[in-house]
């Protein structure tokens, strides 16, 4: 048995297509920890939850072991040949590497601050490439049209110029000085305000948004979108929040984020093609799309093809 080595160097999807190393050997979210724990509570220690990652079906179990740290209590294996997969719990999510991890899961230092609460808003499966879901997360121009009354409203549609930065050390992308006029920026439905954002793309399938927290203007509320690439045309979006705001209940915050994401789902499932068309020249950006242009170029530079149209 056992062959972590079998799949280590390059990934093979079920249909034999090769998967980019950078994707195959990366950590990907596969489940909310709450969901795995609930499955164990309801179904006992043999309650297996299953999902699919990069075209491979995997099984997951929450196994509390005496003396083990909580993050070591999850087991993940491929359902086709029972090979174990690397698994780590972080940010309320179970992360899995199907290959051999080259680096650790992305870091969000803010999440460790003691006065924050971590909330998983729920996992939603969408029939589109996960790269499209990430790109949508980085976009502000759609706020008045898709998130009408929540994150934007006509006629306040203008996207002011913002600043792209590349962190060379970690090879991550940032968009600074983003701002947008929002009628109801968060659950605290007070007055409208101009919200300031910083966007960060940490991995091809993970992005984080830092938004101004009105009660503490020098710090940010953090919303992360961790996308599980089920295959090239399906994904599961895990939205995780690390919030300072303590005016709203967990339930209200989750409800707000779920509404926002469900508004995006309608758009995502209606994008043609489902895969991100990298290098085809069929889609045309404007200035407001600077971050998505940078994201697509960054994907190309890392030679990511999984979830794209492979140039066609």
């Amino acid at each position: 048995m056992g062959m972590a080595t079998m799949a280590s160097t390059a990934g093979e999807a079920m249909n034999g297509a090769m998967i980019d190393e950078v994707i195959w050997n990366d950590w990907h979210p596969v489940a909310a920890l709450d969901a795995l724990d609930a499955a164990r509570a309801a179904g006992g220690s043999n309650a297996v939850t299953r999902t699919r990652l990069l075209g491979v079906d995997i099984g997951m179990l929450a196994l509390p072991q005496a003396g083990a740290r909580p993050q070591d209590s999850y087991r993940v294996w491929r359902l086709d040949d029972q090979t174990p997969c690397h698994a780590q719990a972080r940010y309320g999510v179970l992360w899995v590497c199907a290959g051999e991890p080259r680096r650790d899961i992305l870091a969000i230092p803010e999440a460790d601050e003691p006065d924050r609460r971590l909330l998983h808003a729920g996992a939603f499966r969408v029939h589109v490439s996960g790269l499209r879901a990430v790109e949508n997360f980085l976009d502000m121009g759609h706020f008045p049209f898709v998130h009408t009354g929540y994150l934007g409203v006509e006629p306040y549609t203008e996207v002011a110029p913002y600043r792209i930065e590349r962190d060379e050390l970690s090879d991550e992308l940032y968009a600074h000085d983003c701002r947008f006029y929002q009628p109801r920026a968060a659950m605290t439905a007070g007055a409208a305000l101009e919200v300031r954002y910083v966007y960060r793309v940490a991995r091809p399938y993970s992005a984080i948004l830092y938004k101004t927290c009105p009660p503490q203007p020098e710090r940010f509320d953090v919303i992360a979108l961790f996308v599980q690439p089920v295959d090239e045309e399906w994904c599961v979006a895990h939205t995780v929040m690390s919030y300072l705001d303590d005016a709203s209940s967990d339930s209200e915050l989750r409800g707000f984020q779920q509404t926002i994401f469900a508004q995006d789902i309608k758009i995502l499932v209606n994008q043609v093609p489902k895969r991100l068309p990298l290098g085809t020249g069929d889609e045309h950006p404007v200035r407001a799309d600077a971050m998505s242009v940078a994201y697509r170029r960054w994907l190309s530079a890392q030679r990511v093809t999984y979830g794209t149209t492979h140039g066609r």
Partner: protein, 406 residues
Amino acid sequence: MAAEERIERAWFALCDVDQLGDRAIYHTELLGRELVVWRAGDGTFNVWENRCPHRGVRLSLGHHRGEALQCQYHGWQFSSGSGACRFVPAHPDAAAPAVAVKTWPVEVHYGFVWTCLVAVGEVPPFAPIEELEDDASLAASEDADARSQVRSVRLRTVAIEAPGEAVQHALAGYCFDHARFDPWQASGCVTFDVAPHAVMIEQLDDAGQRVVFVVQPARAGRTYLHGVALGPFAEAERLSVQRHHQQRLNVMRDALEQQFDQREALSGEGLADQLPLCVPQTLSPAQPVMLQRSVSKPVGAPGLSGEKRSPVNPDMTDRAFDLYLSRSRRTLKVAAGVTVLQTLRNHGIDVPSSCEQGVCGTCRTRVIEGTPLHRDDFLTPQERAAGDCMLVCVSRAATGTLTLDL
């Protein structure tokens, strides 16, 4: 292959014009291409690719604004006729980018909108269907009496999960009788081919009633069927004629579909049911891996490293400079406040462009000598530092002269 090309070059009916009132956007498909059909306020008919050229969202999700369609995603508006973008809400004061929705040729005949999926300039002439022509001319007649008596009744379009050829073949056995409803009547009608994708069915009795069906091959395994019942009919008979044919077409459709029993394949549709869900014998973790912890500074912390834009020297920003074109050996003067792209255009030199905002990279041009002053949001820091290319729609020169590979 040749047959497919012939098919591609034919005109196909897409929908009844009556479906386009009330600012409707009609969503359909022809030969595997999704389309939207709509009629502008000034009466112009449009057949467009159902895809916004910004980020690929279906325009059928959008809004009919009278003389333009608006995409649901970012509110981009595209003008009737040309499909050209006329407004981008994210930049309300800027000129719209030179981007357009893909449009297809349109003609209207017999109360239907038709299209042909070929490039402008290669469009074949519309081949009239004689049996429907008589009717059309009567509808346009000077004689009010002729016009008032409804000669033909357009039927409701029916969707059938079967290939176009199979549908056309099944129509050979189609029978009807407006005088009475009898779904099982199997004789008394004869079918003629009247066009490559149209058939006429005629009753053999004295009444000689006829119906013409026009086939729209939507995609492999799916067909839309349009029909025209040829009268004369009184206005009050219209609905019952439509219902009569609807019932018979439903029977034909159900028989065809049973025959083909198309299972819709959903790619990656969900969780595999076949794999056994057993827990492996030795449930051990994968080999432990010592990993370098990912390091990332908290956002908002002072001193976050990253590229800093070079401070813009106000004296240099918009000043004029010389542009030397190495291949055409020309020297142009780029005036203050005029972009390099515009200057080139003014001299008849066409550089491809799209957003004209320094974002898309389409106008990237090689720099041979001189130092560009980058003002774009596209090039990486390394590319900027290398100084061997620039985006001519927004960037300028840091030196007095700039040499481009044009």
